[in-house]
Amino acid sequence: MKMKKTLAFFLAATMTATLALEGCGSTADSGSKDSTSTSGESTESAGGAEEGIEYGKVIIFQSKTEIMDQLNKCAEDFTEETGIEVEVWETSGDSYFTDLKTDVSTGKGPTLFSLAPGSESVTMADYLEDLSDLSFADKIAENMADEVNGKMVGVPYTLEGFGLVYDKSLVDPATLNSTDALISFLEKAKADGINGLGLSQEDYFLIMHILNTPFALQNDPDAYLAQVLAGTVRMIDNEEFVEFAKVMEAIRANCTNPVDLTYDNNCGDFATGKTALIHQGNWAYGMFKDYEVEFEMGVAPLPIVGNNKVAVSVPAAWYVNTDASEEEKASAKAFLEWLYTSETGADYLMNQFGFIPVVEGMTSEKLDPLSQSVADAAAAGNTIGWSLSNWPAGISTALAPITAQFFTSDMTGEELVNQLNDAFVEAAK
């Protein structure tokens, strides 16, 4: 009797253990793709599809998770209007590039995918189809289309900008016009019991974005980056980086420790008036929708060495997989044509995705305050670039641990800059 009971219990235990193992298997594969397929029954052509061309199925895989729901609807509408079948693969965003790399390398990749223009698209140059024959190719705003080896391969999504997102009821951005002004504001904020400037623990929000400014402020950011990578110049010999180091020290001395803050907490504190400034971009507005935010906000420059420009660039662009079959490539191009030239497509881009127009003739009437602020800066030419898109791929995982150490020890700002510098040299090897 006892024997039987033991056996039964052990059996049950093994079964549950197996279940647990299976559970692990599926969670470990965090980039797993739940595919939502919209099948096209009709085959009449309309909109982006042309007569006389064979169309295959488009598989879309892209990294902007915040537009996922709208993109699924968009794909359905596209299928309804053109009869071309579309499948959208989903991602949690974290391991997007790794997943894409694996899929594309094995030849079973998506037809249409997104990359950050810069080191990502350069690395994958062999896999990118020439898109210069798209009808709207020459209408894309200057320098916004991604060109690799002289070919136009990437169609930009939108513009994004980052800098100091301010709460006007707590700080007047016009007063923050120099490093010293920013530092004295942080000291005053500490005395008043609010958090002056919030960074958060995620790699990009901890160091990548804020370190972009001293790079982008150089006369020729690309040439300067090349010199840093080659080890012929040291960042610390440069005024912009010296002031950057001062700002980082002031953040450590006066603000909530960034390694203790998550993106959600940081945005939440800002929305509820506990934080005056956060180093964020216009994408963060989605977070504030959930709060009833009443104060006026906008994106201000990080004022090192008197900088008065916001960092604005294209965060992602569409690319077509050159290894896909001719039919599939034709469909992917038809999808881009439809998205950027048809009425329904443009409505999705501007109103559903909330994108800032990058193609001539497109306008958006209902931008959120942060995007409006970025669009205004772009229209006035008050922008610096995203040097970080050209940094060696994967460098964020080297820079973040160094910065986290800076925030949890008494390392000086100069040491921080030197260690970051070493990480750049190391990554370029």
């Binding site: 219990f9 969670t27 470990a28 641990p401 150490q405 949890t408 020890s409």
Partner: protein, 281 residues
């Protein structure tokens, strides 16, 4: 006899086939990759570099630190998991009224995946601890390590408990009764009768915990990540970062092969030692 063999084959073949396809073949291919430098793109050239990936491993300070850290973590985790698991199993094999309920409850953490467990505990060790003024444990090297051991223990203790329970149940009642008649007390029975007879369970549990702790990945990723100055990075996470973040497929593979050999040697030694101490009934 022949029929019996056929049955064995029928049940083991599918498993063997899966094992060969998903473990053996990739492993052999992986050995091949460890001799080249390659960034993971099929269209990009892989250059043969001989053993230089392997010699590089022993000069890689970040990797060696991760190795030492993993060893320390494993020592503490194996100890705490097994001690606690054994204590649990002794408690729930007594005449306790709630023993079935207790067994289930103690086993439940194992059913939650390591990633989810890691994220839950992350908010405990950082946000909750900050709110009660204990500071963020995950950004301090030593405390982050303690946090890792605590979470591992919480996850694995219930699992080894199950193995120990079956071991304890398998001890014949007559042996225990004889000991009682001879006047042995609780601890005498425990150390002189139960532990020697539990040796097979020790072999299994130590093997499982040793290899699992060395290979720890999910809890590491979710709970601490690499941490400031890579202070919380373990073996597996280091290899993952090398391959997928830094795109050094060949070098990462070389690390993985060395990692495999270390675990194989350590667990084989452990199994052979504990096997020797097993007693036949």
């Amino acid at each position: 006899m022949k029929i019996k063999k056929g049955w064995y084959a029928l049940f083991t073949m599918p498993l063997m086939l899966i094992f060969i396809i998903v473990v053996v073949i990739p492993f052999v291919i992986g050995i091949g990759y460890s001799f080249v430098t390659w960034d993971g793109f099929a269209k990009h050239q892989a250059d043969f570099v001989g053993f230089s990936n392997y010699t590089k491993v022993f000069r890689d300070e970040r990797f060696l630190r991760a190795a030492l850290r993993t060893t320390i973590y494993t020592l503490f985790s194996v100890l705490s998991v097994n001690v606690l698991g054994l204590i649990f199993s002794l408690i729930v094999t007594t005449a306790l009224k709630v023993r079935n309920f207790a067994r289930t409850m103690l086993f439940v953490p194992y059913l939650i995946g390591g990633l989810i467990l890691g994220y839950i505990w992350k908010s405990v060790f950082s946000e909750y601890f900050l709110s009660i003024g204990w500071g963020n444990w995950l950004t301090n090297a030593t405390r982050a390590m303690i946090a890792m051991v605590v979470v591992t223990t919480w996850q694995m203790a219930g699992y080894v408990m199950i193995v120990y329970i079956t071991g304890i149940m398998a001890i014949p009642d007559d042996v225990l009764e004889a000991a009682k008649v001879d006047g042995a007390g609780y601890f005498q029975t425990l150390f002189k009768i139960k532990f020697p007879l539990l040796m097979p369970s020790f072999t299994i549990c130590l093997f499982l915990t040793l290899s699992n702790c060395f290979k720890v990945y999910d809890v590491n990723v979710a709970l601490t990540g690499t941490g400031p100055n890579y202070q919380s990075e373990m073996f597996s996470l280091n290899i993952y970062n090398e391959i997928f973040d830094l795109s050094n497929f060949g070098y990462g593979q070389a690390k993985a092969i060395i990692f495999f050999m270390i675990i194989a040697v350590i667990t084989l030694i452990q199994v052979s030692i504990t096997k020797k101490r097993e007693v036949a009934m």
